[in-house]
Every structure is written in structure tokens, then in C-alpha cells.
Symmetry: D2
Subunit: 269 residues, 4 copies
């Protein structure tokens, strides 16, 4: 598999080791996840959908913070993720799918951002994701960009629950056919035109091991953000900040071992 | 202009402000640059060329470290660059061009990496680029990835020279038709196939103001690097480390005001 | 000169090189500085004074952001500073002095914080200080701690002025006898007692070269901060946040070459 | 308890919350630790001892990497540690003690460095400590300073062992009377003289809960380092780099809950 720079030969990454083989992900990485969900206004969400997509079911937004460690493809290193999903359906010329639409996903390391955008069509961006603050049954996760804090996720009253798999109806966004994405790469020199523009699907993956599950209450807060504060991302934070929180829904904190390498990812037409 | 995430609308960036207008780059950014060049073995360089490219002229590699500041599109912020260029020619079905081929380029901020790769076809990667160490007529620049230092650029005996424009024959890689690139984006789900694969050209841009020029001697050192040390980039560092330094050539340090927004970038077929 | 760890021998630092000699600071470091001053309430400031100190003259607070580069003692590296000064007098048993009291000073590198606190008695703390955002005649400087932005300095309408030395009455806090500090080190095991507690004085230093001076208007904003957001420094930010801004005073942006190594620093009794 | 800046009032820290109370450390922080020990030459170690100290028992150096999380005094945040200990005895005018001497300790956050140096007399310095790389039964920990990697700790063949408390004879350096330190603060203005100079003792603390213990083999590698690479710390790394490794000893990886707040720390005379 190649990525830029092309001339140096194939690039190792999540789905291809230095020996061109895939990695064993059955027992690693370790994933610590905290998630908060809320009911919002259907019209606000509708405006965030790419072409061919429509809302499916209740307009419930799930914001999840993940800490990945022991990643085989990063030689045992890790990184963190903040992602915003909601249920949607894709209705293409050939393909139809219903699932959890990943509207935006932040990571604090550029390497998985590049392979995720270009190989998988994940809408990944970079920001700072400090390690979560854990105080007994309370958890606080934040996201900032060059010092400007734009998102705060707070979970309280976390109580132990029986681990199960899937741990939670909405957990991991694997409801329905899987997770939906919209891949878009511009055409060089023809500004405004696309070189690549199509939906993508992450099918549900076999069962990682849920080691611990805690349920509680939670709240997410996206903060008002100007162009000067985040000149390439302010429009995203503003749109998320504008989503009304009509009702708080489930909040959970899980620890999981094992993952998919996402090599089942495919384009939808 | 759109980039992922698509659903939130157009994304501001180097060639498009929050008001959809272009930025005035006549007096900013400020660029501090230190560069070292050396003669290497033709066969080694030849292996680093993408399809359709051939070496042109002497196999002289130029390694340049740039510190950009006062960038209008980043609301006055900056970032740094390390890039490796050598002269090459592209011979396409329709287009022919000779110039400076940008084989790989590192930046220490993800946002320009994403727009650079996807809009322009620049082979940008992320690494840490600490501010240059400046001790009178000596300059040291280094690059590391999560703590592993993989490149060291050292310039000594820097002496003031008359500013001129272009400041140096090889300066800025603008010889010939401009700077050459190879854009490559994989096809999702069809691993090993390309969704986008073509050469790109950055035409020479009008004259930025050279405020200061110093000439001296210099040396670049790429360090042996294992997969465990840089699991997504070791093959690049190893290839650069293997380039024999047959003869040191020019080394220079310049300070420049003004730049192009690279909106003249175009695809070559 | 020793600092902890003691057993490895003398520690090189700002006032002692690896050869035990002092550094030549006549032409380096380079200092970029932006400062804002304002008139505040006398009673609020009074509460921030250590034992033996009293306000002197108008209660004018100066908040200054500095970017140091080309530091000889850091082998050509640099770091940044945010400091909060106001005029005060020290009336000791033996010594009397009037000057600019440095109430708190943040730096974004631990090494000068340690030598500054322990050798000089500077009240230095650590925070993140991103490079200033420079947009023509506007400058924005910010400070954050692990992602929580707690101070924003904004200067606008900056216009070129004749460089002079001292560039400005309040510039660099060198009015009167120099800059005043209060050194305090706790007694190990006897919690609440001091091992070291006395005032210190930085005498005015000979003239660095002012290369550029711009005057304008400015504003500083310290943001409300909880214990959870900055568990070791919230009380400082809260006190600064509570200072009423009765009147904006001078704002300036300067570039300077050369500095003192502060080896004239002395204890006041 | 006060620390600089004094004028803003008492400073919260590891041994004092915002309400002036101590923190409950019975179940948090969480500590992940990897340690390697080796037999070295007695004469080399002897030179690293402060006044009043002598080696005690075999010259065995233990290098330990710790990842702390869920720290109550940091509102649930964490940081990492790299420390170098060996057995020594202190023979003072009044006090005698035998224990594990902490010759140097690096942390990747300035706030605990300041309270540790000034309140406790720990020889703490700052460096970058990336999260450990964990690949099944292998662990790699590294330390760097502004991009220069100066220490690498590698553990292999880690096998589960029965958790016990103390988990290991040498574990945590709590053998004998506890951990020994040498506090040193310079006298301002009288360069070369001490304001504070005495030994300190950390008595053994009650039992934290060992959750997991793995034993294996390991190796530590300090890399040759110049003044230019680490201008304030090169002499320490050089001394550690020069220690001959005569024989590898125990290597272990533990996970622990609960800790002491070190308020039993006391001066030795």
C-alpha cells in the first residue's frame, strides 16, 4: 500500500506492517473510552449531512473520547480520539446502508490522521487531546487547538455495570450496517472540484473484549470559537456549539482490549 | 473549497479565508530558511522517483529547514518545514516539465499538511521541528518524531552576502518550470490501487523580498532509524540516510518576506 | 555553581557555561516583546505584596510577553516569558529599594525556571506560551496550562516609533533601583516554615540595543479559572482576573538585541 | 504552605488542597512502573554522592520509569517520572540513615518538579517522557530533552508473577530507612554558596496495592550527550552513560494503586 511520499516505496501503517503483513489486533490495542449522548434538533443535524445521506431514527448525537495504547502498528505507542457521530442512512446509486455517521473525528497524532483520511475516508482532523482527568467516579476530557480549548466532556456518578458486548446499544457506533463516512479529496488546480467524493462504510467488527463498563450521567460542551482562534476548524466547532441539547441521554466509560484494523472498510456508490 | 469533513461546509485554508477570499501574501509570512546541498550518487536518487520522472542535471540534493511566521491564513501563527528536493524532469502523456522535485516534506502542524497533501499533492508528513539553534555564524536545525531525532542540519561560517532575488541558483527550488510533486491517494477498499495518481507542478512565483542572505558551509545528517523508532516513516529516513555525500555544495541562510499562496498549483498529465 | 542534583557536580546555566565561564550576552539573545499596561485599584494590588513591600507611585500593572531566541547559555535555543509587574518599594532592616516588583512570571521551559527561582528568587512558574500571532499592526499573545487558556494579550494599531534606550519609561521594569523580587523556599518537614525568605533586587543593566519600537493600544484579559482547571496556579490567575482595569495605559512592541545574564542579582535584607 | 510566588497566598500542591486539607491517596493515583537494575563499578558511583553520603552494600543501580495517573492533587491528571537510585548511607552530625539514594529524577511536568525540589529536596529535572511503548511482553521507555533522546529502557520476556507487597526487594527503593535525597538551594548573589544544603529522608510508607507484577529481563542505555544537546543536563547524562554495566539484575513491570503524599519527608542533619 502506498501513501505520499510515493517514491520511497510502500508505507507501513495500520493495515500493513514493515513486512507487508497485517497486525494481530486480537489482544491489543487497549481502548479507554468515555462517551456522552444527547437528543438534538433534527434540522440542525440535517445540515451536517453530505450528499446522499439522510437522518435515520432519533437525532441523537454521541460524542466519544478514546485513549488508545499498545497499538501494534505504532510499535506499542498510542494516541487519542474525539469523535462526533449520529445515526444516518446512505442511499446511493448502487449501495444502501444505515448506521452511525461519523461527522468529524479529531486525533492528536498526524500519522493515523493521514492514513485514516486517505485510505479510509474518515473525516479526521488534528487537535490537542490531553489525557483524561479521572477523579474516582468523575471523568473530564478536553480538546484544544494550539491552546484554545474548544470541547469539554464531563461524566459524573459513574457506577460499575456488568461488562457486555456490545457494551451498549449505541456503543462504538456499530448499530445497523456499521459506521458511515464521506470521503472527499479535492482536484488539484481545479479549485472547487472533487477528485474523490463518495460514501464509505466500516462494517461491524468481531467482538473486542469489554473489560470494564461504567454507566453515569454526562454533558458535552463545545465552546464558541472564532476564525482567529481556530482558522481551519472554527466552522465545525461553531456548528457543534449551535446544536441544542434537548435531553441528555446515556453516558458511559468503558475499557476494551482488541480492535479491528478496519481493513473491511469499503466505498459505497 | 471543501476538505473533509465535508458536511460542515467549505473549509478555510491557505487559499481561501473565512470570507471565501484569498489572503494578501505580499508582505507576510516571514520566512527564515537554512539550506544545505550536496552531490550524491545518481543511482540512489533514481530509485526515489515516482512513475514518469527522471533525474535532470547533476544529482544534487537540497535539504531546507524553514520557519514560517505571521501567516495570514493561520491568523498570524506559523509553523516549520523540512524538505528534501533534487532536480528532475517529468515526461507525461501531455505535459513535460523540468524543475526541482520535492521528494518529501515534513511540517510540525497537521493543518497545512492536510491541505498540502490533498489540495496540492505535496508529500507532506508530520514531525517535531524545534526552533533552530542560532549561535552567531552557526545554525543547527533538527527534526524528531515522538522523541527520536532523525535529521540534523548544521551550518557554519555564515557570512553576510548581498540580498538578491532569486537569492541563489538553487534557492527555493524554483529553477526551470518550478517545483514538481507526485500526488497519490489510495482507493478505499481496493488496497494497493490508486484513486488519484498524477504529477503536479508549482510554477515559479513572483518575487518575495529577500531581507538577508548569509552564505556558509553546511552538512546534513540523517540518522539510522528502525521501524520501532518511526513505524510509518522509517523507510524514508533510511533511504535518505543511505544517500552518499560525494561533495558538499552551497549552504545558505535567508530571511524573506512575502510568499505565494500556491494557487497556481496544477496537475500534470 | 551547584543546583540539584548536587552529586553530579556544578550545573551549567545562564551565568556559567560548561567551562565555568560566563556567556557573552552583548549581541544575543534576541528579544521580541509585547507589553500592555493599565491603571488598577490600589487596594487590590496591595494584597499581592510580600512582607516588607509597599506600593510606590501609581498602581499601574504591566503585563509583558517575551520571546527569547539565540540564547548563548541554551546553545542557541530560546523560550518565552509572560510576566506581571507593578511599582513597589522594599523597606528592609538594612536595605531600601524602589523599583518594579515582579509579582509572577511564567516561562514555557523548566530549565530557566529552576535556575531563576533558586539562584535569583524570581517567582517563575511554567505554562504553555504559543508563539505570538502577528497580523500586520495587530499582535495577540496567549498563555495556557495543559490546554486551559488563562491569559490573552492583544495589541492593536501598532505604529513605528523611533527606537530609544530605554525605549519606554516603564519598559523592562528598570525604573528606579531595578526589579524587585521575593525569594521563598520552604523548610523540608516543617510544613509552613521557610528555609529562605527575603527580597531580591535586579539592578538596572547596561543598554541592550533596541532595534525596533512600535507603540499602540492594548488590553490584557485574565480568564476565570477554577482549581480543577489549574490546580496549582488558579489562585494567581483569579487574583489577576479580579484586578479592575480602571484605565488602559501604554502598549508597545519592541525588538531588542543583547541582555544581561543577571549575575548582579542580590539579596536585600 | 507557601511557594513562590509568595504574594498571592498559599499554593495548593501535593500535600495541600485548595481547602488547605490533605488529599486521600488510598486508592489513587494509579502507577505503572517499569524498572531495570544492574551491577556497576563502586568507584563510579562513589563520585555521584553528595557530602555525608557513602555507598551501602552492592553498587546496584535501579532505573525506573513511572506513569502516574488519576492524581488527586492534579484534579485527576497525571505525569511521568524517570529516576536513578542506588543504595547509600547518610552519616550526619545528628542523624544516620541507610536507604536508596535518589541521585536524579526527571519529570515531564514542571509543577511537581517545583514542589518536589523546594518542599522535599528531590533532585528533579524536566525532560520529555513519551508514554511507554507496550508490545505484549516487551516494554520500551525513552526520555528526551527538546528532541534529543538520552535514555532508553527496554524490558523483554515479561512474565506474570504473583503480586506481593513489597512487590520486589528493590521495588520502590524503600529498603532500609527509606529513600535518601540531598537538598541544595543556592544563595542569591553569593555565587557558589548554599542557602540550603542538607540530606532528606522519605520514610517507608504504608502499603499501596500491587495490582499486577511482571518479571523479565531488561537493559538501560544512556546515550552520549554534548553540552549543545543538553546545555543544563549533559554532565548528568554523561556520568550515567559512563557507568559500566557489570551485570544485569532484576527487571520488573508493576501496576499499583494508592501512594503516599510524602508529607513524612524530613530533613537529616
Amino acid at each position: 500500500m502506498y501513501r505520499m511520499p510515493y517514491g520511497f516505496g510502500p508505507t507501513a501503517g495500520p493495515r500493513q506492517g514493515p513486512d507487508y503483513k497485517r497486525f494481530d489486533c486480537s489482544n491489543a490495542p487497549h481502548r479507554w473510552q468515555a462517551a456522552v449522548s444527547f437528543l438534538t434538533d433534527r434540522n440542525h443535524l440535517d445540515r451536517l449531512l453530505p450528499p446522499g445521506f439522510a437522518l435515520a431514527g432519533d437525532p441523537i448525537v454521541t460524542v466519544e473520547f478514546r485513549v488508545l495504547s499498545e497499538l501494534p502498528w505504532l510499535a506499542g505507542r498510542g494516541y487519542s480520539i474525539l469523535k462526533v457521530n449520529f445515526p444516518a442512512a446512505y442511499n446511493g446509486k448502487r449501495d444502501k446502508a444505515v448506521g452511525s455517521f461519523c461527522s468529524v473525528l479529531w486525533e492528536n497524532l498526524a500519522d493515523p490522521i493521514l492514513s485514516g483520511r486517505e485510505e479510509l475516508g474518515f473525516a479526521k482532523l488534528w487537535c490537542e487531546l490531553p489525557p483524561p482527568r479521572i477523579m474516582g467516579d468523575r471523568v473530564t476530557c478536553t480538546a484544544s487547538w494550539l491552546g484554545h480549548e474548544f470541547a469539554i466532556l464531563e461524566l459524573t456518578d459513574l457506577a460499575e455495570a456488568e461488562p457486555r458486548n456490545p457494551a451498549f446499544p449505541g456503543l462504538g457506533g456499530q448499530a445497523g450496517d456499521g459506521t458511515l463516512h464521506y470521503k472527499y479529496i479535492p482536484q488539484t488546480g481545479e479549485w472547487g472540484k472533487a477528485a474523490v467524493a463518495h460514501a464509505c462504510l466500516t462494517p461491524p467488527t468481531g467482538g473486542p473484549t469489554v473489560e470494564r463498563l461504567r454507566l453515569g450521567t454526562g454533558r458535552v460542551n463545545f465552546r464558541p470559537t472564532t476564525w482567529e482562534q481556530m482558522p481551519t476548524q472554527f466552522h465545525i466547532v461553531q456548528a457543534l456549539c449551535a446544536l441544542p441539547i434537548l435531553e441528555q441521554r446515556e453516558a458511559w466509560c468503558v475499557e476494551i482490549r482488541g480492535d479491528s484494523d478496519l481493513s473491511q472498510q469499503r466505498a459505497l456508490v
